[in-house]
């Protein structure tokens, strides 16, 4: 990573007026700082506290709004961009994770005032700190500025489910959930969705077209291999 990550413009607008005027006692009491009191000073800086509110049981579905602000530090964002791009790097015909806004989504996720996402927040921040400290001590640089080889040397210690270095189980669990979220956000993007092959969400008149000839031909080959007959009347 040589270029620093710049947040993407998003159709979903954080309601700053809402969070600014909000006291909402009790709603966010569970959102304690990410580090225990006796923890060392975080090398990635102190993230902002959670100040948003849940969007509630009757949000406006046509004007979807995120009712909380993102809270990660700029150093955390840079690390997330690098980690996301290690997961989903750029290719000749595909953007990297950071190009389609994955870091913003991770920030949105861990900044939201829900129990599950707060649990992810704790786990992710611990992973990010660990990655940063390890790269600083091994390579003398931040994770975001490290080379692909340097990043890989670290990730290979816990990124594969059957090859987790003993003692790094927490990092492996946090990475697995990070991977879930980053990959989901990537393929939910317009470019990711198309590359994956989703061709729906397009209305059409008349009867449902059903499988293409190409899709049926592929199915027919698969059925023949297994000694099955193409069903009729469906």
């Amino acid at each position: 990573m040589t270029q620093s990550y710049v947040s993407k413009i998003d159709r979903r607008t954080t309601l700053k007026w809402l969070t600014a005027g909000l006291s909402a006692p009790g709603l966010i009491s569970a959102c304690s700082p990410s580090q225990p009191a006796d923890a060392p000073t975080p090398v990635l800086g102190d993230p902002k506290p959670i100040t948003g509110i849940p969007y509630g049981s009757d949000p406006d579905l046509l004007e979807a709004l995120v009712t909380w602000e993102r809270t990660m530090t700029s150093q955390q964002i840079q690390l997330v961009a690098a980690l996301g791009d290690a997961l989903l790097p750029q290719t000749d015909d595909l953007p990297a994770a950071s190009t389609v806004g994955v870091p913003d989504f991770i920030d949105e996720w861990i900044s939201s005032p829900y129990e599950q996402t707060q649990s992810d927040r704790q786990a992710f921040f611990a992973l990010f700190e660990w990655l940063e400290r390890e790269t600083l001590s091994d390579a003398g640089t931040s994770f975001a500025a490290a080379s692909i080889d340097q990043q890989s040397a670290l990730l290979d210690r816990f990124a594969w489910k059957d090859r987790i270095e003993p003692g790094l189980e927490q990092q492996a669990d946090a990475f697995d959930q990070f991977r879930n979220l980053a990959v989901s956000a990537y393929f939910a993007s317009e470019q990711g969705s198309y590359w994956l092959g989703y061709r729906g969400n397009r209305p059409s008149a008349g009867d449902y077209a059903g499988p293409t000839d190409e899709a049926l031909s592929h199915l027919n080959d698969a059925l023949q291999t297994l000694g099955l007959q193409m069903p009729q009347g469906l």
């Binding site: 849940p54 979807a64 290719t91 994956l196 969400n201 209305p203 293409t212 099955l228």
Partner: protein
């Protein structure tokens, strides 16, 4: 107590039962007033049809605010509603899905619409367990036809045992099967298991009633602003209102049905949620259709001087609580990897399903469980979002290729089975707990029996056989049936809490939903089920409500009510 009112019938609830009852009565020229606990809701104006997961907070993920995801058509509802708790017995896990919106749960349901069959109405006569309905399939068949023709159901007549055909011209053509559905059907046929077009309340033809046929896009669970996927808010309710005979009050939390000196119902008390005021509205006849749980709660909270509650001389109100037996197994099918892409949205839910196929073996004593189940088959190129990363490992270029390879290669078989009512499953009033309105809440007790566990075990074996015949592997280790079975309430088919029967001694209503003890009180929701067949209940609720309301209209015209 004021008794003046310009309506004849009060209907409590606006979902499948209340919506159909109001429609039938309004069509018959009877003045109806409906009370709905939730807010007014208009799917035409409020449904986010084409918005992508990426347009929603957290990719539309389920949160405590919206437990089926951001865009799901459940408003002010879910497993938990702020300030409206329910409790459970010490050893019970039970979950209760509620909504607080006009149209109730019809706004988001799966639209799966299977008729109960001749066996399903006489379960006790067949195997000695449970309780017979006070009607036969033949009694309800014409009402199924009328209901299906009215709401619009796709499917075909497959001529299978205990899976009745519809009348000529009633069903609409089903959509073509998708590739994984054809694959599942091929494997099933090879094993000797039927796999036939599903039946769902989704229009595939224009009926000229103001709704449009499906345009093969958008998740029915969000609601449908073109009216293709049936929900009362785009059909029965506007149709009933157009007669001029239906008025609706929303945000009206009903807590009591009042009775006069003659024991007949004469109105209801509710809390106006906007003002907090307690209000009374009178009526000649009351139709209760607030959902199996909520209707039992209202009955048990009524008639306070008799601690047994209203219409409960039999002691059966709240008893016989049932939910569909549910379990599921997912397979990953290598032969489906990297298959050619095309639009698989279709009608979004299933196009084919597997009906129960072992009635003869069961009758011959070859099965170790009573009653039946079906499989709902789910596999398609889903809209990408959370879950698209399932099963991935590592990172880098290979990860992305894996994601593309696996996409559309998973198939889920959801077992949906019949549960036999037992004395351990019931709802009662929790005398210790009140909701934010001060209304005593329900306490649920629930315990499956070995019948259900044996059925799940059988379904698991059948699923594994299907997946293996497709050359696939089960994605997770298969749990013991006791752990694999969905907890009570989770399938959201709760029924039976005011069952119909032949006798006032052991049932709450007759076959029209008319209460034995209170003849001008009709219950027309899932509460009146005498048994809970494996068929999804909504179509039967609609048909029973149509039949019961028609009977009620006739009785009123004859002057006997």
């Amino acid at each position: 107590m004021a008794t003046e009112h310009d309506h004849d019938v009060l209907v409590i609830g606006s979902g499948a039962g209340g919506g159909m009852a109001a429609y039938v009565l309004a069509q018959a020229g009877i003045k109806v007033h409906m009370l709905e606990a939730g807010r007014d809701y208009d799917p035409v104006a409020e449904t986010a049809m084409f918005d992508e997961n990426r347009d929603a907070p957290l990719l539309g993920a389920p949160t405590p605010d919206k437990e089926f995801g951001y865009y799901n058509a459940t408003i002010d509802g879910g497993w938990d509603i702020d300030g409206e708790p329910y409790t459970t017995g010490e050893t019970t896990t039970f979950q209760w899905w509620r909504t607080r919106m006009l149209g109730g749960r019809t706004n988001h349901w799966a639209r799966n619409s299977f008729r109960m069959g001749e066996y399903d109405f006489k379960p006790q006569s067949r195997d000695g367990l449970g309780y017979d309905w006070p009607m036969s399939y033949e009694d309800l068949a014409p009402w199924y036809d009328r209901t299906e023709a009215l709401i619009g159901v796709y499917g075909v007549n497959s001529g299978l045992a205990n899976h009745p055909d519809s009348g000529a011209g009633v069903l609409q053509p089903p959509p073509k099967a998708r590739v994984p559905e054809l694959f599942a059907a091929a494997a099933a046929a090879d094993i000797g298991i039927p796999c036939v077009p599903a039946r769902r309340a989704i229009l595939t033809r224009d009926k000229g009633d103001g709704r449009s046929p499906c345009f093969w896009a958008t998740d029915c669970g969000r609601g449908c602003n073109i009216g293709a996927a049936f929900q009362t808010t785009t059909s029965l309710l506007p149709w009933a209102r157009s007669t001029g005979n239906l008025t609706v009050t929303t945000d009206a939390m009903v807590y009591e049905i009042t009775t006069g000196d003659d024991g007949n119902a004469n109105g209801v008390r509710y809390i106006d949620k906007r003002s907090g005021e307690h209000k009374f509205v009178g009526a000649r006849v009351v139709v209760l259709a607030a959902s199996a749980g909520e209707s039992a709660r209202i009955l048990l909270n009524s008639n306070a001087k008799d601690s047994g509650g209203l219409a409960n001389a039999s002691g059966q109100v709240g008893r016989n609580l049932m939910d569909t037996v549910g379990s599921g197994i997912t397979g990953q099918i290598p032969a489906l990897e990297n298959r050619p892409r095309y639009n698989e949205d279709g009608a979004m839910g299933m196009h084919v399903y597997i009906p129960f196929w072992l009635y003869e073996e069961q009758a011959a004593g070859q099965l170790d469980f009573p009653r039946s189940y079906h499989f709902e088959v789910y596999s398609q190129f889903n809209p990408p979002g959370l879950g698209t990363a399932a099963g991935l490992d590592g990172y880098g270029h290979g990860l992305r290729e894996d994601a593309r390879r696996y996409y559309g290669s998973f198939i889920h078989f959801a077992q949906r089975g019949e549960m036999i009512p037992n004395p351990n499953c019931y709802a009662e009033i929790d005398t210790e707990t009140k909701d934010k309105f001060g209304i005593p809440v329900l306490k649920f007790h629930y315990k499956h029996s070995d019948h259900e566990f044996a059925q799940v075990a059988h379904a698991q074996q059948a699923t594994i056989e299907l997946i293996e015949r497709m050359g696939g592997t089960v994605t997770e280790s298969v749990k013991a049936p006791q752990n694999a079975i969905a907890a009570g309430g989770v399938i959201i088919h709760e029924t039976g809490t005011a069952r119909m029967g032949k006798s006032a001694a052991d049932s709450v209503t007759n076959s029209y939903g008319q209460c034995w003890d209170v003849p001008n009180l009709f219950i027309l929701d899932g509460a009146i089920f005498s048994s809970k067949a494996h068929k999804n209940p909504t179509l039967t609720i609609l048909a029973l409500a149509m039949r019961g309301a028609d009977h009620l209209a006739n009785e009123m015209k004859r002057g006997s009510l």
